[in-house]
């Protein structure tokens, strides 16, 4: 009886990714975009973007990854101008850092000085998070679930999702915040004991994404409470999430 199970374990081999900070994702993966100096009809690109993430200032294009739906259609339509790289470390604590300008290096960092002191002292070894989906399409939720699976094994860092906000150190919000969920979200957030953190995972949570102009969403919650970490993606890749949270909470983080 048990032999069968031992065989299964043997055939599975080692599933966990040894070093989550140095994985290379396939070239097709859409991470931080690179905007070239190529001359193109900027208005066409700006108009092409389905979520108004592309804008232009002094003839320089920029893409706001907080709004970007990562559809990647622009890199196929305007291939000389935009190319999404496979750089997945996209999380930051400063909203403006999500805006990638023409000629920028393919790097998004956290601003160490802007991180509240207690985060690195209290949450550096153990961080329990409560996830709240407020209109998320469940792809983000599945990826957050995958963070704890045998491949990514986020639990090795003491970072886990809890069942109750009372046991949590913070909230990970997904979805554009529907009107129907606005109240429940706020109740859950306020049920988390202080000090607490607020993480936005995915484009929908950061800006509303494709739903930004829907009259079924209600984003006042974000006017009331400061955000500690923005993690872009549609959905957020587990590696983007884990690296972002590590950079936020660890004293030392190797990029």
């Amino acid at each position: 009886m048990i032999l069968g199970e031992i065989n299964i374990v043997k055939h599975q081999g080692k599933q966990f990714i040894k070093d989550l900070t140095s994985v290379t994702l396939p070239n097709t993966f859409r991470g931080i975009p690179i905007i070239s100096e190529d001359k193109v009809a900027e208005n066409e690109i700006i108009d092409f973007c389905p979520v108004n993430a592309i804008s232009s200032k002094n003839n320089k294009l920029s893409i706001d990854l907080g709004k970007c739906s990562f559809c990647g259609d622009c890199q196929h339509q305007f291939s000389s101008k935009i190319k999404f790289s496979n750089h997945y470390k996209m999380a930051t604590n400063v909203r403006e850092n999500l805006v990638i300008n023409q000629g920028d290096p393919t790097e998004i960092k956290l601003d160490a000085l802007a991180i509240r002191k207690e985060i690195k002292s209290i949450f550096k070894r153990s961080l329990k998070l409560r996830q709240v989906s407020a209109g998320g399409d469940n792809s983000n939720e599945l990826e957050l679930g995958a963070c704890g699976n045998v491949n990514f094994d986020m639990g090795r860092y003491g970072i886990e999702f809890t069942a109750s906000p009372r046991h949590a150190d913070g909230i990970v919000l997904t979805g554009p915040i529907t009107k129907n969920m606005a109240e429940a979200l706020e109740i859950a957030f306020n049920a988390v004991p202080e000090p607490r953190i607020l993480i936005l995972a995915g484009t929908d949570a950061i800006s509303g994404g494709i739903f930004a102009e829907s009259n079924a969403i209600q984003r006042d919650f974000l006017k009331k409470y400061p955000v500690d970490l923005y993690i872009p993606g549609n959905p957020t890749h587990p590696l983007t999430f884990i690296n972002g949270v590590l950079e936020l909470t660890r004293k030392k983080f190797r990029r």
């Binding site: 069968g4 199970e5 065989n7 299964i8 374990v9 055939h11 599975q12 599933q15 994702l25 396939p26 097709t28 993966f29 859409r30 092409f48 389905p50 979520v51 739906s69 990562f70 559809c71 990647g72 259609d73 196929h76 339509q77 709240v132 989906s133 407020a134 209109g135 998320g136 399409d137 469940n138 792809s139 983000n140 939720e141 599945l142 990826e143 679930g145 995958a146 699976n149 045998v150 491949n151 999702f161 069942a163 529907t178 009107k179 129907n180 969920m181 109240e183 429940a184 859950a188 929908d204 994404g209 494709i210 739903f211 102009e213 829907s214 009259n215 079924a216 969403i217 549609n234 959905p235």
Partner: protein, 508 residues
């Protein structure tokens, strides 16, 4: 039935566009009579969609029935001339209509008389009565000294979407479960009309529910491409079918992991969880996104399936199949799993028919219902297969449907890869397209959960006038409620996971 000349309807094939004016509008009496006659005559008839559109001072109602035996889709409707009209409900005769009539009632304040359950569906932004709030849902009550209520949600213990569950219990025994949804409502149907770029609409379609990105995207592209009379290459059709089967494999495998978690079988939970990874990672290598976002576009794709990818996929599937079978055979023969699956949450075929369940839940409960067979789309016409069928309507059957569908999808993909040709040229997406005017098109796609139905109507200028979406969860949530009757409340998680219904797909 079609030889009965007194019936008035148009018959179409899945995804074919017709003149909207060809759909006959009957009086409500004749309409009701005709619907009831269809349902009383044959089991093979089920309702794909029934909805209302505002017209002048009243409303136009369209019903879309699927005849699984003759592979036809039947269309007809009725009209009312004034607001606040009261109609005798169809639900009092055929329960399966409850969700459609509730939706029409919620949005347009049309009262359906003798409807046993005329409650809000999703508290949508465009509902007729804004005084109805999601925090004030009229739950069913039972009075009794020893009864108590357990209320769970909208936020749940796991990393899942929100929904509210209200259990009426006698001790630990659930007498009745009522599920209240709507928390996820983002207004997708209205957004598809108001967003005027086609790329925006494609992104909306792939955001309806992330675990069915491919299936919903395909229902969308099928509908719109038909209205724009776009012809697709064979290769593109094959690639889309492969993507749909890959989605089925990935989600079924992930759900088997979840089902093992809920019965505390750690090995199954970990192994199926790990097995889902190579499948979605292949999808990521193919199109850059583990859920297939970006892959399905109108008129073409940015990510053709080249030869390297085909070899990659074949290799992934060989390795996956071996490990999947090994784990599944162990798990489905394990007494501790069998004890927690077998006979748990069973709903009889008769009841499931009454509810009009579709897809996986139907196939697990003795109802033969699979759009790939009954109303073939994409490449399914050319594939020789019989859909998986189980009878008991319990957790075990829902697990077995997943197990066997995964194996079947693998062999379907192998067939599809064989038919796929190595070509340099491929169809690129269209970002500008013109739809034919005054047309109607409905497209059904069998996603892993069941039939997804998208319906579009264009106006005289060829603009989208109406867009309706139906996720299979619209029907199947009621079956989960019935599953819980006379079960211990502790059996809820495993039942819920065995259905794995969509919140966002239901709430839209």
């Amino acid at each position: 039935m079609s030889n009965n000349k007194s019936y008035s309807y148009v018959s179409v094939q899945n995804t074919s566009a017709i003149e909207f004016s060809n759909i006959p509008m009957l009086s409500y009496e004749v309409f009701t009579e005709q619907v009831l006659a269809y349902f009383n005559a044959k089991d093979e008839i089920h309702c794909l969609q029934y909805f209302a559109i505002p017209k002048d001072k009243g409303f136009q109602f369209i019903i879309i029935l699927a005849n699984d035996a003759t592979h036809e889709i039947l269309l007809f409707g009725h009209e009312i001339q004034a607001l606040n009209t009261k109609l005798e409900s169809l639900t009092q005769h055929i329960n399966a209509f409850h969700i459609f009539e509730r939706e029409i009632h919620e949005n347009f304040n049309i009262t359906f008389l003798n409807h046993p359950w005329l409650k809000p569906v999703r508290f949508s932004e465009n509902r007729a009565d804004k005084s109805k709030k999601i925090s004030n849902y009229p739950f069913y009550k039972i009075e009794g000294d020893e009864l108590h209520e357990v209320s769970v949600g909208p936020i749940h213990a796991g990393i899942i979407e929100p929904g509210h569950f209200r259990f009426l219990c006698h001790g630990e025994m659930v007498k009745h479960l009522e599920i209240q949804l709507g928390w996820q409502h983002r207004g997708i149907e209205s957004l598809i009309i108001t967003k005027n770029k086609w790329l925006q609409r494609s992104i909306l379609a792939e955001s309806i529910t992330g675990d069915s990105t491919i299936a919903h995207s395909l229902a969308f592209t099928n509908t719109i491409e038909s209205l724009a009379e776009i012809k697709l290459d064979d290769n593109l059709i094959l690639e889309r079918s492969i993507a749909l089967e890959l989605e089925r494999i990935a989600i079924h495998t992930g759900d088997l992991s979840g089902m093992n978690t809920d019965v505390a079988y750690q090995l199954g939970s970990a192994v199926f969880g790990a097995l889902r990874t190579p499948i979605i990672n292949f999808t990521q290598r193919w199109c850059g996104n583990r859920f297939g976002k970006g892959l399905i576009r109108l008129g073409g794709t940015n990510y053709p399936l080249n030869n390297d990818l085909k070899i990659d996929l074949a290799t992934v599937l060989i390795e996956f199949e071996k490990k999947f079978k090994e784990m599944a055979e162990k798990m489905f023969n394990l007494p501790s799993v069998i004890k927690r699956f077998d006979g748990i949450g069973a709903v009889s075929t008769t009841k499931l028919k009454m509810l009009g369940v579709v897809g996986m839940v139907a196939k697990a409960g003795g109802i033969s219902r699979d759009i790939r067979k009954s109303h073939p789309f994409l490449a399914y016409q050319n594939l020789n297969f019989e859909h998986v069928q189980f009878e008991h309507g319990d957790v075990m059957s829902r697990g077995l449907v997943r197990y066997h569908e995964v194996l079947q999808s693998i062999s379907l993909i192998k067939e599809l890869i064989k038919l796929h040709k190595n070509e340099e040229e491929f169809q690129k997406p269209l970002y500008q397209l013109n739809l034919k005017s005054n047309k109607f098109c409905t497209s059904a796609v069998e996603g892993w959960r069941g039939e997804i139905v998208h319906t579009a109507i264009t106006d005289e200028k060829g603009n989208l006038k109406q867009y309706k979406i139906k996720d299979p969860s619209m029907h199947n949530w009621k079956a989960l409620e019935l599953s819980l009757r006379n079960l211990e409340i502790s059996d809820f998680p495993i039942n819920n996971k065995s259905y794995d219904l969509s919140y966002s797909g239901h709430d839209l």
